[in-house]
Protein backbone atom coordinates (compact mmCIF):
# COMPACT_ATOMS: atom_id res chain seq x y z
CA UNK A 1 0.00 0.00 0.00
CA UNK A 2 2.78 2.39 1.01
CA UNK A 3 4.68 1.58 -2.16
CA UNK A 4 1.60 2.05 -4.35
CA UNK A 5 0.99 5.44 -2.77
CA UNK A 6 4.62 6.39 -3.31
CA UNK A 7 4.50 5.33 -6.97
CA UNK A 8 1.25 7.24 -7.50
CA UNK A 9 2.73 10.37 -5.93
CA UNK A 10 5.88 10.13 -8.06
CA UNK A 11 3.78 9.67 -11.21
CA UNK A 12 1.54 12.63 -10.35
CA UNK A 13 4.50 14.83 -9.35
CA UNK A 14 6.49 14.01 -12.51
CA UNK A 15 3.43 14.69 -14.69
CA UNK A 16 2.81 17.97 -12.88
CA UNK A 17 6.38 19.28 -13.04
CA UNK A 18 6.66 18.33 -16.70
CA UNK A 19 3.37 19.98 -17.64
CA UNK A 20 4.04 23.07 -15.57
CA UNK A 21 7.43 23.47 -17.19
CA UNK A 22 6.01 23.63 -20.72
CA UNK A 23 6.54 27.06 -22.28
CA UNK A 24 3.74 29.49 -21.38
CA UNK A 25 3.32 32.98 -20.05
CA UNK A 26 3.21 33.20 -16.25
CA UNK A 27 0.14 35.43 -16.02
CA UNK A 28 -2.45 36.99 -18.32
CA UNK A 29 -0.67 39.29 -20.75
CA UNK A 30 -1.85 42.88 -20.77
CA UNK A 31 -1.53 45.24 -23.72
CA UNK A 32 1.11 47.19 -21.80
CA UNK A 33 3.19 43.99 -21.47
CA UNK A 34 3.11 43.58 -25.23
CA UNK A 35 4.09 47.22 -25.76
CA UNK A 36 7.16 46.89 -23.56
CA UNK A 37 10.01 47.92 -25.90
CA UNK A 38 11.96 44.67 -25.49
CA UNK A 39 8.86 42.55 -26.19
CA UNK A 40 7.92 44.74 -29.14
CA UNK A 41 11.47 44.59 -30.54
CA UNK A 42 11.29 40.77 -30.37
CA UNK A 43 7.96 40.60 -32.17
CA UNK A 44 8.99 43.11 -34.81
CA UNK A 45 12.28 41.21 -35.24
CA UNK A 46 10.49 37.90 -35.79
CA UNK A 47 8.05 39.58 -38.18
CA UNK A 48 10.91 40.92 -40.30
CA UNK A 49 12.54 37.46 -40.25
CA UNK A 50 9.28 36.07 -41.62
CA UNK A 51 9.25 38.82 -44.28
CA UNK A 52 12.72 37.76 -45.41
CA UNK A 53 11.25 34.30 -46.00
CA UNK A 54 8.45 35.55 -48.21
CA UNK A 55 5.66 36.10 -45.66
CA UNK A 56 4.10 39.54 -45.36
CA UNK A 57 2.89 39.95 -41.78
CA UNK A 58 1.70 43.31 -40.54
CA UNK A 59 3.52 44.27 -37.30
CA UNK A 60 0.38 45.37 -35.48
CA UNK A 61 -1.50 42.22 -36.49
CA UNK A 62 1.42 40.06 -35.36
CA UNK A 63 1.45 41.85 -31.99
CA UNK A 64 -2.33 41.39 -31.66
CA UNK A 65 -1.96 37.71 -32.63
CA UNK A 66 0.82 37.08 -30.11
CA UNK A 67 -1.31 38.71 -27.41
CA UNK A 68 -4.31 36.52 -28.23
CA UNK A 69 -2.32 33.27 -28.48
CA UNK A 70 -0.40 33.97 -25.25
CA UNK A 71 -3.60 34.60 -23.30
CA UNK A 72 -5.35 31.59 -24.83
CA UNK A 73 -2.40 29.35 -23.88
CA UNK A 74 -2.43 30.81 -20.37
CA UNK A 75 -6.15 30.14 -19.97
CA UNK A 76 -5.84 26.55 -21.25
CA UNK A 77 -2.92 25.88 -18.94
CA UNK A 78 -4.80 27.33 -15.96
CA UNK A 79 -7.78 25.04 -16.62
CA UNK A 80 -5.61 21.90 -16.76
CA UNK A 81 -3.60 22.86 -13.68
CA UNK A 82 -6.56 24.03 -11.58
CA UNK A 83 -6.96 20.70 -9.68
CA UNK A 84 -3.28 20.88 -8.67
CA UNK A 85 -3.47 24.50 -7.60
CA UNK A 86 -3.59 23.91 -3.80
CA UNK A 87 -0.66 21.48 -4.08
CA UNK A 88 1.57 23.83 -6.03
CA UNK A 89 0.43 26.91 -4.10
CA UNK A 90 1.03 25.68 -0.56
CA UNK A 91 4.18 23.76 -1.38
CA UNK A 92 5.43 26.40 -3.82
CA UNK A 93 6.27 23.77 -6.44
CA UNK A 94 6.01 25.95 -9.53
CA UNK A 95 8.11 25.26 -12.59
CA UNK A 96 8.73 28.57 -14.31
CA UNK A 97 12.05 28.27 -16.09
CA UNK A 98 11.76 31.42 -18.20
CA UNK A 99 15.33 32.53 -17.69
CA UNK A 100 16.75 35.14 -20.07
CA UNK A 101 14.06 34.20 -22.60
CA UNK A 102 14.70 37.39 -24.52
CA UNK A 103 17.58 39.50 -23.14
CA UNK A 104 16.75 43.10 -22.21
CA UNK A 105 17.61 45.28 -25.18
CA UNK A 106 16.19 48.26 -23.31
CA UNK A 107 17.60 47.94 -19.77
CA UNK A 108 16.66 50.32 -17.01
CA UNK A 109 19.06 52.85 -15.48
CA UNK A 110 17.87 53.33 -11.95
CA UNK A 111 18.41 56.31 -9.68
CA UNK A 112 17.12 57.79 -6.42
CA UNK A 113 16.83 61.57 -6.02
CA UNK A 114 15.94 63.97 -3.21
CA UNK A 115 14.62 67.50 -3.54
CA UNK A 116 16.44 70.08 -1.43
CA UNK A 117 15.43 73.76 -1.70
CA UNK A 118 13.64 73.08 -4.95
CA UNK A 119 16.55 71.31 -6.65
CA UNK A 120 16.75 67.59 -7.38
CA UNK A 121 19.95 65.89 -6.24
CA UNK A 122 20.90 62.30 -7.16
CA UNK A 123 21.82 60.22 -4.09
CA UNK A 124 21.95 56.82 -5.79
CA UNK A 125 22.68 55.80 -9.34
CA UNK A 126 23.21 52.19 -10.43
CA UNK A 127 26.14 53.15 -12.65
CA UNK A 128 27.79 56.06 -10.89
CA UNK A 129 29.51 57.18 -7.70
CA UNK A 130 26.29 58.13 -5.82
CA UNK A 131 25.76 55.27 -3.39
CA UNK A 132 22.98 55.89 -0.88
CA UNK A 133 21.41 52.45 -0.13
CA UNK A 134 23.98 50.70 -2.30
CA UNK A 135 24.16 47.66 0.00
CA UNK A 136 20.59 46.82 -0.94
CA UNK A 137 20.27 48.32 -4.39
CA UNK A 138 23.55 47.03 -5.82
CA UNK A 139 23.02 43.60 -4.28
CA UNK A 140 21.27 40.86 -6.22
CA UNK A 141 18.01 41.10 -4.24
CA UNK A 142 17.82 44.85 -4.84
CA UNK A 143 18.69 44.51 -8.51
CA UNK A 144 16.01 41.90 -9.03
CA UNK A 145 13.47 44.20 -7.34
CA UNK A 146 14.49 47.02 -9.68
CA UNK A 147 14.40 44.64 -12.65
CA UNK A 148 10.94 43.25 -11.87
CA UNK A 149 9.43 46.65 -11.07
CA UNK A 150 11.04 48.22 -14.15
CA UNK A 151 8.80 46.40 -16.65
CA UNK A 152 6.33 48.63 -18.43
CA UNK A 153 3.37 46.62 -17.09
CA UNK A 154 4.57 46.52 -13.46
CA UNK A 155 3.00 49.84 -12.39
CA UNK A 156 1.62 48.54 -9.11
CA UNK A 157 4.87 46.90 -7.96
CA UNK A 158 6.83 49.96 -9.12
CA UNK A 159 4.57 52.29 -7.17
CA UNK A 160 4.87 50.21 -3.95
CA UNK A 161 8.62 49.70 -4.17
CA UNK A 162 9.21 53.31 -5.28
CA UNK A 163 7.22 54.80 -2.39
CA UNK A 164 8.86 52.46 0.13
CA UNK A 165 12.32 53.46 -1.13
CA UNK A 166 11.44 57.17 -1.26
CA UNK A 167 10.25 56.97 2.35
CA UNK A 168 13.55 55.34 3.36
CA UNK A 169 15.64 57.99 1.60
CA UNK A 170 13.60 60.82 3.16
CA UNK A 171 14.33 59.29 6.58
CA UNK A 172 18.06 59.54 5.88
CA UNK A 173 17.86 63.07 4.40
CA UNK A 174 15.95 65.30 6.86
CA UNK A 175 16.75 68.37 4.72
CA UNK A 176 14.81 66.97 1.73
CA UNK A 177 11.19 67.91 1.04
CA UNK A 178 10.51 65.18 -1.51
CA UNK A 179 12.13 62.09 -2.97
CA UNK A 180 11.68 60.20 -6.20
CA UNK A 181 12.95 56.98 -7.70
CA UNK A 182 13.55 57.07 -11.39
CA UNK A 183 13.52 54.34 -14.04
CA UNK A 184 15.16 55.52 -17.25
CA UNK A 185 15.00 52.98 -20.05
CA UNK A 186 17.87 53.17 -22.54
CA UNK A 187 18.43 51.51 -25.89
CA UNK A 188 21.40 49.18 -25.57
CA UNK A 189 24.08 50.09 -28.07
CA UNK A 190 25.49 47.49 -30.47
CA UNK A 191 29.29 46.92 -30.28
CA UNK A 192 30.00 49.27 -33.22
CA UNK A 193 28.20 52.17 -31.49
CA UNK A 194 30.00 51.50 -28.21
CA UNK A 195 33.36 51.60 -29.99
CA UNK A 196 32.35 54.80 -31.82
CA UNK A 197 31.35 56.39 -28.50
CA UNK A 198 27.71 56.97 -29.48
CA UNK A 199 25.89 58.03 -26.29
CA UNK A 200 23.05 55.98 -24.81
CA UNK A 201 19.58 57.03 -25.94
CA UNK A 202 16.88 57.28 -23.26
CA UNK A 203 13.62 55.83 -24.59
CA UNK A 204 11.44 56.11 -21.51
CA UNK A 205 11.62 57.96 -18.19
CA UNK A 206 9.25 56.98 -15.36
CA UNK A 207 9.48 58.07 -11.74
CA UNK A 208 7.65 57.52 -8.46
CA UNK A 209 7.60 60.52 -6.12
CA UNK A 210 6.84 60.92 -2.43
CA UNK A 211 6.45 64.27 -0.66
CA UNK A 212 7.56 64.57 2.97
CA UNK A 213 4.62 63.87 5.22
CA UNK A 214 2.84 61.70 2.64
CA UNK A 215 2.05 58.08 3.57
CA UNK A 216 4.39 55.68 1.71
Amino acid sequence: MKRALRDAWIAAHVTLITFMALPAVSRPVSKSDIWDPTVRAEIVGWASTLRRHGYRPNNDRVIEGVWEVANLAHKGRAVVLAPFDPYSRWLGTWQAWRMFVAPQRFPVRFSVEVQVQGLWRVVYRDVGPESWGADLLRGERGRSLVFSTGWTGAQMGRERFGRWLANEVLGDHPEATAARVRYQRVALRPPADVIAGTPERVTDDVSVMLLRGEAP
Binding site: L91, Q95, A102, Q104, L188
Partner: protein
Protein backbone atom coordinates in the same frame (compact mmCIF):
# COMPACT_ATOMS: atom_id res chain seq x y z
CA UNK B 1 5.37 0.17 -17.04
CA UNK B 2 7.90 -2.32 -15.67
CA UNK B 3 10.77 -0.08 -16.78
CA UNK B 4 9.04 2.87 -15.17
CA UNK B 5 8.65 1.05 -11.83
CA UNK B 6 12.21 -0.30 -12.03
CA UNK B 7 13.51 3.24 -12.45
CA UNK B 8 11.94 4.28 -9.17
CA UNK B 9 12.86 1.22 -7.10
CA UNK B 10 16.06 0.03 -5.43
CA UNK B 11 18.34 1.33 -2.69
CA UNK B 12 21.74 2.98 -2.79
CA UNK B 13 24.23 4.55 -0.35
CA UNK B 14 22.94 7.80 1.15
CA UNK B 15 26.00 10.01 0.51
CA UNK B 16 24.79 11.79 -2.65
CA UNK B 17 21.52 12.92 -1.14
CA UNK B 18 23.20 13.81 2.16
CA UNK B 19 25.71 15.98 0.31
CA UNK B 20 22.89 17.73 -1.57
CA UNK B 21 21.16 18.37 1.77
CA UNK B 22 24.27 19.93 3.32
CA UNK B 23 25.19 22.04 0.27
CA UNK B 24 21.62 23.30 -0.27
CA UNK B 25 21.52 24.21 3.42
CA UNK B 26 24.78 26.15 3.24
CA UNK B 27 23.65 27.95 0.07
CA UNK B 28 20.30 29.08 1.50
CA UNK B 29 21.86 30.06 4.83
CA UNK B 30 24.38 32.32 3.10
CA UNK B 31 21.57 33.81 1.00
CA UNK B 32 19.38 34.48 4.05
CA UNK B 33 22.35 36.05 5.87
CA UNK B 34 23.04 38.33 2.89
CA UNK B 35 19.37 39.24 2.73
CA UNK B 36 19.40 40.45 6.33
CA UNK B 37 22.80 42.13 5.96
CA UNK B 38 21.76 44.33 3.02
CA UNK B 39 18.36 45.17 4.53
CA UNK B 40 16.26 43.35 1.92
CA UNK B 41 13.93 41.84 4.51
CA UNK B 42 11.70 44.92 4.62
CA UNK B 43 10.97 45.36 0.92
CA UNK B 44 10.75 41.64 0.22
CA UNK B 45 8.45 40.32 2.93
CA UNK B 46 7.19 43.10 5.25
CA UNK B 47 3.64 44.39 5.04
CA UNK B 48 2.76 47.92 4.01
CA UNK B 49 1.55 48.45 7.61
CA UNK B 50 5.05 47.64 8.91
CA UNK B 51 6.96 49.76 6.43
CA UNK B 52 7.28 47.08 3.72
CA UNK B 53 5.73 46.65 0.30
CA UNK B 54 3.57 43.53 0.73
CA UNK B 55 -0.13 44.40 0.55
CA UNK B 56 -1.40 44.09 4.15
CA UNK B 57 -5.03 43.73 3.03
CA UNK B 58 -4.44 40.36 1.37
CA UNK B 59 -6.51 37.56 2.88
CA UNK B 60 -4.54 34.64 1.48
CA UNK B 61 -1.45 34.92 3.65
CA UNK B 62 -1.86 32.94 6.88
CA UNK B 63 1.25 34.45 8.44
CA UNK B 64 -0.31 37.91 8.21
CA UNK B 65 -2.86 36.81 10.80
CA UNK B 66 -0.12 35.35 12.99
CA UNK B 67 2.36 38.20 13.15
CA UNK B 68 2.25 41.94 12.77
CA UNK B 69 5.53 41.77 10.84
CA UNK B 70 5.73 38.37 9.15
CA UNK B 71 9.10 39.17 7.56
CA UNK B 72 11.03 38.42 10.74
CA UNK B 73 8.92 35.34 11.46
CA UNK B 74 9.51 34.00 7.96
CA UNK B 75 13.21 34.76 8.00
CA UNK B 76 13.72 33.31 11.49
CA UNK B 77 11.82 30.13 10.63
CA UNK B 78 13.81 29.66 7.44
CA UNK B 79 17.16 30.24 9.17
CA UNK B 80 16.37 27.88 12.08
CA UNK B 81 15.06 25.10 9.85
CA UNK B 82 17.92 25.49 7.34
CA UNK B 83 20.42 25.27 10.20
CA UNK B 84 18.72 22.12 11.46
CA UNK B 85 18.72 20.27 8.14
CA UNK B 86 22.23 21.43 7.25
CA UNK B 87 23.68 19.82 10.38
CA UNK B 88 21.23 16.95 9.97
CA UNK B 89 19.21 17.26 13.14
CA UNK B 90 15.59 16.24 12.55
CA UNK B 91 16.28 16.69 8.84
CA UNK B 92 12.88 15.59 7.53
CA UNK B 93 10.85 17.87 9.82
CA UNK B 94 13.28 20.75 9.25
CA UNK B 95 13.03 20.37 5.46
CA UNK B 96 9.22 20.38 5.62
CA UNK B 97 9.21 23.52 7.79
CA UNK B 98 11.69 25.24 5.47
CA UNK B 99 9.65 24.27 2.39
CA UNK B 100 6.43 25.65 3.85
CA UNK B 101 8.10 28.89 4.96
CA UNK B 102 9.76 29.32 1.58
CA UNK B 103 6.42 28.79 -0.18
CA UNK B 104 4.90 31.45 2.10
CA UNK B 105 7.69 33.88 1.22
CA UNK B 106 6.86 33.32 -2.46
CA UNK B 107 3.18 34.08 -1.80
CA UNK B 108 4.12 37.24 0.08
CA UNK B 109 5.99 38.77 -2.80
CA UNK B 110 5.76 36.67 -5.98
CA UNK B 111 7.95 39.10 -7.96
CA UNK B 112 10.77 38.43 -5.49
CA UNK B 113 10.51 34.65 -5.86
CA UNK B 114 13.52 33.86 -8.02
CA UNK B 115 13.92 30.80 -10.24
CA UNK B 116 16.50 29.40 -7.85
CA UNK B 117 14.09 29.76 -4.90
CA UNK B 118 11.59 27.72 -6.86
CA UNK B 119 14.09 25.06 -7.86
CA UNK B 120 15.50 24.67 -4.36
CA UNK B 121 11.99 24.45 -2.93
CA UNK B 122 11.24 21.61 -5.36
CA UNK B 123 14.47 19.93 -4.27
CA UNK B 124 13.63 20.47 -0.60
CA UNK B 125 10.36 18.49 -0.94
CA UNK B 126 12.16 15.64 -2.64
CA UNK B 127 14.86 15.67 0.05
CA UNK B 128 12.17 15.67 2.74
CA UNK B 129 10.76 12.48 1.28
CA UNK B 130 14.22 10.89 1.10
CA UNK B 131 16.67 9.40 3.54
CA UNK B 132 19.10 12.29 3.11
CA UNK B 133 19.50 12.65 6.89
CA UNK B 134 20.73 9.09 7.31
CA UNK B 135 24.38 10.02 6.97
CA UNK B 136 26.61 13.12 7.21
CA UNK B 137 24.32 14.27 10.00
CA UNK B 138 24.08 14.97 13.69
CA UNK B 139 21.26 12.45 13.95
CA UNK B 140 23.53 9.74 12.49
CA UNK B 141 26.26 10.69 14.96
CA UNK B 142 23.88 10.46 17.90
CA UNK B 143 22.35 7.22 16.66
CA UNK B 144 25.39 5.28 15.50
CA UNK B 145 28.36 7.07 17.02
CA UNK B 146 29.74 8.05 13.61
CA UNK B 147 29.05 10.99 11.30
CA UNK B 148 29.07 8.84 8.19
CA UNK B 149 27.53 5.45 8.77
CA UNK B 150 27.26 3.26 5.65
CA UNK B 151 23.51 3.43 5.16
CA UNK B 152 21.41 2.52 2.15
CA UNK B 153 18.36 4.61 1.34
CA UNK B 154 15.77 4.51 -1.48
CA UNK B 155 17.33 5.71 -4.74
CA UNK B 156 14.18 7.24 -6.28
CA UNK B 157 14.55 10.71 -4.66
CA UNK B 158 17.98 11.17 -6.22
CA UNK B 159 16.64 10.09 -9.60
CA UNK B 160 13.71 12.46 -9.24
CA UNK B 161 16.19 15.27 -8.51
CA UNK B 162 18.09 14.38 -11.69
CA UNK B 163 14.83 14.49 -13.63
CA UNK B 164 14.03 17.88 -12.06
CA UNK B 165 17.40 19.24 -13.20
CA UNK B 166 16.88 17.90 -16.71
CA UNK B 167 13.38 19.42 -16.92
CA UNK B 168 14.74 22.75 -15.70
CA UNK B 169 17.72 22.96 -18.09
CA UNK B 170 15.82 21.65 -21.10
CA UNK B 171 12.76 23.87 -20.72
CA UNK B 172 14.95 26.88 -19.92
CA UNK B 173 16.70 26.16 -23.23
CA UNK B 174 13.62 25.71 -25.40
CA UNK B 175 12.12 28.92 -23.99
CA UNK B 176 15.10 30.97 -25.10
CA UNK B 177 13.30 31.99 -28.25
CA UNK B 178 14.43 35.62 -28.21
CA UNK B 179 15.99 36.57 -31.54
CA UNK B 180 19.31 37.38 -29.88
CA UNK B 181 19.81 33.69 -29.08
CA UNK B 182 19.47 32.86 -32.77
CA UNK B 183 21.69 33.34 -35.84
CA UNK B 184 19.17 35.99 -37.03
CA UNK B 185 19.96 37.94 -33.87
CA UNK B 186 23.70 37.52 -34.44
CA UNK B 187 24.00 35.27 -31.33
CA UNK B 188 24.25 38.51 -29.35
CA UNK B 189 22.34 37.34 -26.25
CA UNK B 190 25.33 37.09 -23.90
CA UNK B 191 26.65 40.43 -25.14
CA UNK B 192 23.32 42.05 -24.27
CA UNK B 193 22.96 40.24 -20.92
CA UNK B 194 26.47 41.27 -19.86
CA UNK B 195 25.55 44.89 -20.61
CA UNK B 196 22.36 44.80 -18.55
CA UNK B 197 23.15 46.60 -15.31
CA UNK B 198 20.38 44.64 -13.63
CA UNK B 199 22.49 41.48 -13.69
CA UNK B 200 26.07 42.11 -14.80
CA UNK B 201 29.03 42.35 -12.44
CA UNK B 202 30.94 44.69 -14.75
CA UNK B 203 30.41 46.00 -18.27
CA UNK B 204 32.60 43.70 -20.45
CA UNK B 205 34.77 46.27 -22.21
CA UNK B 206 36.92 43.34 -23.40
CA UNK B 207 34.03 42.38 -25.70
CA UNK B 208 34.00 45.74 -27.50
CA UNK B 209 36.02 44.38 -30.38
CA UNK B 210 35.38 41.67 -33.01
CA UNK B 211 37.33 38.93 -31.17
CA UNK B 212 35.65 39.56 -27.81
CA UNK B 213 32.23 39.72 -29.46
CA UNK B 214 32.93 36.43 -31.27
CA UNK B 215 33.79 34.75 -27.95
CA UNK B 216 30.41 35.84 -26.57
CA UNK B 217 28.66 34.64 -29.74
CA UNK B 218 30.30 31.25 -29.23
CA UNK B 219 29.17 31.28 -25.60
CA UNK B 220 25.60 32.10 -26.64
CA UNK B 221 25.40 29.25 -29.16
CA UNK B 222 27.06 26.78 -26.74
CA UNK B 223 24.66 27.67 -23.93
CA UNK B 224 21.67 27.07 -26.15
CA UNK B 225 22.95 23.75 -27.57
CA UNK B 226 23.97 22.53 -24.10
CA UNK B 227 20.54 23.27 -22.62
CA UNK B 228 18.60 21.83 -25.55
CA UNK B 229 20.60 18.60 -25.38
CA UNK B 230 20.69 18.29 -21.59
CA UNK B 231 18.33 15.22 -21.63
CA UNK B 232 21.48 13.32 -22.68
CA UNK B 233 22.16 13.14 -18.94
CA UNK B 234 19.07 10.93 -18.60
CA UNK B 235 19.03 9.15 -21.92
CA UNK B 236 22.69 8.13 -22.33
CA UNK B 237 22.95 6.16 -19.07
CA UNK B 238 19.63 4.44 -19.84
CA UNK B 239 20.78 3.46 -23.35
CA UNK B 240 24.16 2.36 -22.01
CA UNK B 241 22.40 -0.56 -20.36
CA UNK B 242 21.38 -1.99 -23.74
CA UNK B 243 23.53 -4.89 -25.01
CA UNK B 244 24.19 -3.21 -28.36
CA UNK B 245 27.38 -1.72 -29.86
CA UNK B 246 25.89 1.75 -29.30
CA UNK B 247 25.08 0.84 -25.69
CA UNK B 248 28.61 -0.49 -25.14
CA UNK B 249 30.07 2.72 -26.63
CA UNK B 250 27.95 4.82 -24.27
CA UNK B 251 28.89 2.62 -21.31
CA UNK B 252 32.56 2.99 -22.14
CA UNK B 253 32.73 6.72 -22.84
CA UNK B 254 29.83 7.97 -20.67
CA UNK B 255 29.27 11.18 -22.66
CA UNK B 256 26.79 12.47 -20.05
CA UNK B 257 29.79 13.40 -17.91
CA UNK B 258 30.69 16.08 -20.47
CA UNK B 259 27.26 17.71 -20.00
CA UNK B 260 27.70 17.64 -16.23
CA UNK B 261 31.23 19.07 -16.47
CA UNK B 262 29.99 21.80 -18.83
CA UNK B 263 27.33 22.59 -16.26
CA UNK B 264 29.97 23.23 -13.62
CA UNK B 265 31.89 25.49 -16.02
CA UNK B 266 28.63 27.26 -16.98
CA UNK B 267 27.68 28.02 -13.38
CA UNK B 268 31.18 29.10 -12.38
CA UNK B 269 31.19 31.36 -15.44
CA UNK B 270 27.87 32.84 -14.36
CA UNK B 271 29.19 33.38 -10.83
CA UNK B 272 32.21 35.24 -12.23
CA UNK B 273 30.40 37.50 -14.69
CA UNK B 274 26.82 37.95 -13.49
CA UNK B 275 25.45 38.89 -10.09
CA UNK B 276 22.67 36.34 -9.81
CA UNK B 277 23.12 35.85 -6.08
CA UNK B 278 22.22 32.36 -4.95
CA UNK B 279 21.63 31.00 -8.46
CA UNK B 280 25.01 29.46 -9.43
CA UNK B 281 25.73 28.15 -5.93
CA UNK B 282 22.22 26.79 -5.44
CA UNK B 283 22.50 24.99 -8.79
CA UNK B 284 25.91 23.52 -7.97
CA UNK B 285 24.54 22.40 -4.59
CA UNK B 286 22.23 20.04 -6.50
CA UNK B 287 25.01 18.54 -8.62
CA UNK B 288 25.93 15.74 -6.17
CA UNK B 289 22.55 14.25 -7.15
CA UNK B 290 24.13 13.55 -10.55
CA UNK B 291 26.65 11.32 -8.80
CA UNK B 292 25.52 7.73 -8.49
CA UNK B 293 27.02 6.71 -5.14
CA UNK B 294 27.61 3.20 -6.49
CA UNK B 295 30.05 4.88 -8.84
CA UNK B 296 28.41 3.55 -11.98
CA UNK B 297 27.22 6.62 -13.84
CA UNK B 298 25.16 9.73 -13.59
CA UNK B 299 21.45 9.98 -14.14
CA UNK B 300 19.06 7.09 -13.80
CA UNK B 301 21.43 4.31 -14.60
CA UNK B 302 22.03 2.66 -11.26
CA UNK B 303 18.93 0.49 -11.10
Amino acid sequence: MKTWLRWWSGDEPAQSLALVRVLVGLAVLSDLATMAWVGALGPAWSLTTSGGIVDATRKDLPLVAMASDPALLLWGTMVASALAFTVGWGSRAALVVFGLASAQSALHYPMGDRAIDMLLRNAIWILAASGCGATLSLSARLRSGTWMPAVEVPAWPRRLLVLQLVVMYFTAGVQKFGLLWMPMGDFAALYVILHDWGVTRAIPTWAHNPVGFFVLQLGTASTLIWQWTYPVVLVAPALARQPTPWGRWLARWRPERAWVALGVVFHLGIAATLDLGLFPWGMLALYPALWDPRGQATGLRGT
